[in-house]
C-alpha cells in the first residue's frame, strides 16, 4: 500500500500531462487537469495518514523517502494545485473570450496555448512533488531545477514583451542560483563520501547523511550550507536574490503565480531545511542559525520600502511573498522545537492565504484590466462583492490580524525568538512586521473599499468564485480549528526540523 502511494503520487501528474498533451479539445484538458489534481490531493492525504502511522515511508531502497516534513509540503502543494486547477478553468476561458490568448478566428492558436498551459502545469507540479520525495540530495537538486524549466514557458504564457523579460530574469537568476546549490550539494557529498564510499548511490541520501551527520567533515559542511543557502534561497526569493520574483509573479498567469509563490517557495525552503538539519547536526545549530537570521531579517526589512511605494498590486503580492520567505527563514534560524513549529504552521497558513490573494488579484485584473491601484480607485467591493470580501479577508490574514492563523504562527515564532535568547532578532521581527502590515493594508483598503466609480458590476464566474470561496472557508476555519490529523502532521514535521 505504502509503495503504491509514492508511485501514484508521481505517476498521476505525468499521466495528466500526457492526457492534456494529446487532447484535442479544451474540455478534455480541463477535465484531465481537474481529475488529475483531485487524485493527487487524495493521494497526498493518504500519504499524510501513512506518515502519521509509520513516521517514514520509503521505497526502492530508500530512493524515495517521505517523513512528516515531506508529507506536509506534498499536502500543501497538492491543495494549491487542486485549487488552481479549478480556478484556471474559469480564468483561461475568460482570457480566451476577451482575446488575451490571440485573435486567431479558427481557435488553433488559442488551443495550442491552452495545451501548453495544461501540459506544463502538471509537469511543474510533478517536479515539486518529486523534489519532496527524493531522498538523494542530488536528485532533489535535479527536481528543483526541473521546477524552473517547467515553469519558464508558463511565465511567458501571454507572450508579451514584459513576460519575455520576466522569464529571462527568472531563467538566468534561477540558473545561477541553482548552480550554487549544485555546488553545495557536491560539497556535502564530499563531506560524507569517506563515510559511505564514493560509488554508492546512497552516499547522497539524506536519511543516510542525517544518521552520520556528526561524522561529516565540518569545514565542508559549513561551505556546503552557505552555497545551499544562496542557491535554494534564490528559488525561495530571499534578498538579495529576489529580483526575479516581482517580475515573474506579475507576468505569469495568475494560477501559475499562485503556484510559484506558495508551492514552489515551500519546496525551495524544504530543500534549505533538509540541509539545515544536516548542518546543525554536524557543526551545531549556531552557525546555520546566524546565517538564516541574517538573510531572513534582511528579506523582511528590504521588502518594506518596496511594499510602501508599490503601485502594481501583483508586484505588491510578490513583495509580500519575499517578506514571508524572510519570516520563515528567520523562524528556521531561531530554531528549536518552538521555532520549527511556528515555521511549519506559518508555511501552512501562508500557503492558503497567499494562494487566495493571487486568485483574488486574478479576478480583479480580469475585471478592471489594469494592474495599477491608481486606475482602480477603490470600489472592488461594490463591483465584485465576493471577490472584494475574500481579497480583504485574505489580506487581513496575510498581515497577521487575529483570529487568522498567521497571527498565531507569527506569535509563536516571536515567542520562540525571545525564549531562545534572540532578543535583537525578535525586536526587528516585530518592527519589520509592523512596517509591512501598514504598507499592505493601506494599499489594499484603498483599492477594495470606497465608492464604485464607473466600473460595471462583474458577471458571475462559477469556477473562479467557487474555488475561491472553498479556499476562503478553509482559511477562516483553520484559524480557529486545525483538524487533529493536520495538527499532528505539522507537529511531527516540526519535530523532524528540530530533531527533537
Amino acid at each position: 500500500m505504502d509503495r503504491l502511494l509514492l508511485i501514484a503520487l508521481l505517476l498521476i501528474p505525468i499521466a495528466t500531462a500526457v492526457a492534456s498533451f494529446v487532447a484535442r479539445r479544451r474540455a478534455v484538458m480541463e477535465l484531465a487537469n481537474l481529475a488529475g489534481f483531485a487524485a493527487v490531493f487524495v493521494v497526498a492525504i493518504a500519504l499524510g495518514a501513512q506518515v502519521l502511522d509509520f513516521k517514514t515511508v520509503s521505497i526502492a531502497n530508500g530512493f524515495f523517502y517521505a517523513d512528516a516534513l515531506s508529507a506536509l509540503v506534498i499536502l500543501l502543494t497538492a491543495s494549491v494545485a487542486l485549487i488552481c486547477a479549478t480556478y484556471s478553468i474559469g480564468y483561461l476561458r475568460s482570457d480566451e473570450q476577451s482575446g488575451e490568448l490571440g485573435d486567431d478566428a479558427t481557435g488553433k492558436e488559442q488551443l495550442a496555448l491552452l495545451r501548453m498551459y495544461y501540459t506544463l502545469t502538471p509537469l511543474f507540479v510533478f517536479s515539486m512533488l518529486f523534489m519532496a520525495v527524493a531522498n538523494n540530495l542530488g536528485v532533489m537538486w535535479a527536481a528543483m531545477e526541473a521546477t524552473t524549466l517547467a515553469s519558464i514557458f508558463l511565465v511567458t504564457f501571454y507572450g508579451k514583451v514584459n513576460s519575455l523579460e520576466a522569464a529571462w530574469k527568472y531563467a538566468m537568476i534561477g540558473g545561477v542560483g541553482l548552480s550554487m546549490a549544485l555546488f553545495g550539494t557536491l560539497v556535502a557529498y564530499y563531506a560524507g563520501h569517506n563515510l559511505t564510499g564514493s560509488a554508492a548511490i546512497s552516499g547522497l541520501n539524506w536519511s543516510v547523511l542525517a544518521q552520520h551527520a556528526a561524522q561529516l567533515d565540518k569545514t565542508s559542511m559549513r561551505l556546503a550550507f552557505v552555497l545551499i543557502l544562496m542557491g535554494y534561497g534564490t528559488k525561495a526569493g530571499l534578498v538579495p536574490m529576489h529580483t526575479w520574483k516581482p517580475d515573474a509573479y506579475s507576468q505569469a498567469p495568475v494560477p501559475t503565480a499562485a503556484l510559484l509563490s506558495t508551492a514552489m517557495m515551500n519546496c525551495a525552503l524544504y530543500g534549505l531545511i533538509r540541509f539545515y538539519i544536516l548542518t546543525s547536526r554536524c557543526v551545531g545549530a549556531q552557525y546555520p542559525s546566524r546565517l538564516l537570521l541574517l538573510f531572513g531579517l534582511l528579506s523582511m526589512g528590504i521588502a518594506i520600502p518596496f511594499v510602501l511605494v508599490q503601485t502594481h498590486y501583483r508586484r505588491l503580492l510578490a513583495y509580500s511573498t519575499i517578506d514571508h520567505a524572510g519570516i520563515m527563514t528567520t523562524a528556521l534560524g531561531i530554531g528549536g522545537i518552538l521555532g520549527s513549529f511556528g515555521l511549519m504552521l506559518h508555511m501552512t497558513f501562508h500557503t492558503l492565504a497567499k494562494t487566495l490573494l493571487f486568485l483574488g488579484a486574478g479576478n480583479i485584473y480580469q475585471h478592471f484590466r489594469t494592474n495599477q491601484f491608481a486606475d482602480i480607485k477603490g470600489g472592488v467591493l461594490r463591483a465584485m462583492p465576493l471577490t472584494g470580501v475574500i481579497f480583504l479577508l485574505a489580506m487581513l490574514a496575510i498581515v497577521g490580524v487575529p483570529p487568522f492563523g498567521l497571527f498565531q504562527s507569527e506569535f509563536i515564532i516571536l515567542r520562540a525568538a525571545f525564549e531562545g535568547g534572540h532578543l535583537f532578532a525578535g525586536v526587528l521581527f516585530v518592527l519589520f512586521g509592523v512596517g509591512v502590515f501598514v504598507g499592505l493594508l493601506l494599499h489594499v483598503i484603498g483599492m477594495v473599499l470606497g465608492p464604485r466609480g464607473d466600473a460595471p458590476v462583474a458577471p458571475p464566474r462559477p469556477w473562479r468564485n467557487g474555488s475561491m470561496l472553498a479556499l476562503a472557508i478553509v482559511l477562516v476555519v483553520i484559524g480557529f480549528w486545525v483538524p487533529a490529523p493536520v495538527f499532528e502532521l505539522i507537529r511531527n514535521a516540526a519535530q523532524v526540523v528540530s530533531g527533537q
Partner: protein, 224 residues
C-alpha cells in the same frame, strides 16, 4: 606499458587536461565571435569527458565511463549543434560586445584563477593521495570565471553559454573531489542541462524575434 597503470602518469594527464580546460575558459572570455564561443565550449566539454575517462581508467570505476560518455553526447555534440542551428535560424553575425573590454576581462579572469587556487587549498589534505587535486583549483576557477562572463555579456546566447561553462566547472569539481557524483545524479544533471539548453534556446529565439536583438541590456522595463 607499465606507465599506463601508473597513478602519477594519470595525475599528469589529468593536470594537463585541466590546464587545457582553463586555457579554453580564458579563451572564451577573450574571443569576440559567438560561433567561436560555442566551439570553444564544445572543446572544453570534450576535455572534461577525457578527464573523466582518464580517472575512470586509473581508478577502475566503470560508472565514470558512463558519465564521460553522456557528457560527450550532451555537451560536445547535442548542445553545440542545437546552438549552431539556432544561430543559423536567427541569422546572427554580430560580435559579442562585452561590457568590460577584452584585455581587462582577461586580467580579471586571471585574478579569479588565483582566487580559485586559494580556495582549493583549503580542501587539500596532505594524507590523501589521488588523482585530480590540481583539477579542483581549475574547477573553482571555471565556476568563478563563468560567473564573471555571465555578468560581462550583453547577448542572451552568450549568457547561456557562460552558464553552461559554469556547470562544466561543477562537473570538474565533482570529478576531482569525489570521482564524480553517483550515476543517477549525473544522469539527472545532464538531463537538466539538455532541457535547459533547449528551453533557453527557445527563449533566446523569442527575445530575438521580439526585440530584434539579443542584447539583454534592453530588457529593463520591469522595475521596482
Amino acid at each position: 606499458m607499465m606507465h599506463i597503470l601508473d597513478l602519477q602518469f594519470g595525475e599528469r594527464i589529468v593536470t594537463l587536461m585541466a590546464a587545457l580546460v582553463l586555457v579554453l575558459q580564458i579563451a572564451m572570455v577573450a574571443q569576440r565571435w559567438i560561433v567561436l564561443h560555442i566551439r570553444i565550449f564544445a572543446a572544453q566539454s570534450f576535455c572534461l569527458a577525457m578527464i573523466a575517462a582518464t580517472i575512470a581508467w586509473f581508478n577502475h570505476a566503470p560508472h565514470i565511463y558512463i558519465a564521460a560518455a553522456l557528457t560527450l553526447v550532451v555537451k560536445v555534440i547535442l548542445v553545440p549543434i542545437l546552438f549552431e542551428r539556432l544561430m543559423v535560424k536567427m541569422e546572427i553575425h554580430e560580435e559579442i560586445e562585452p561590457f568590460v573590454n577584452v584585455p581587462i576581462s582577461v586580467l580579471i579572469a586571471g585574478g579569479l584563477t588565483l582566487v580559485g587556487y586559494v580556495v582549493a587549498e583549503s580542501f587539500y589534505k596532505p594524507d590523501e593521495t589521488g588523482l585530480g587535486h590540481n583539477a579542483l583549483a581549475v574547477a573553482i576557477s571555471l565556476f568563478l570565471i563563468g560567473f564573471f562572463t555571465m555578468i560581462n555579456r550583453r547577448k542572451a546566447l552568450t549568457q547561456v553559454l557562460a552558464l553552461l561553462s559554469l556547470e562544466n566547472g561543477l562537473f570538474l569539481a565533482a570529478i576531482s573531489l569525489t570521482y564524480g557524483m553517483p550515476l543517477i545524479v549525473e544522469l539527472g544533471i545532464l538531463f537538466d542541462v539538455l532541457v535547459a539548453a533547449m528551453v533557453m534556446g527557445i527563449l533566446v529565439y523569442r527575445i530575438r524575434e521580439t526585440f530584434e536583438s539579443m542584447d539583454v541590456s534592453l530588457l529593463r522595463r520591469l522595475r521596482g
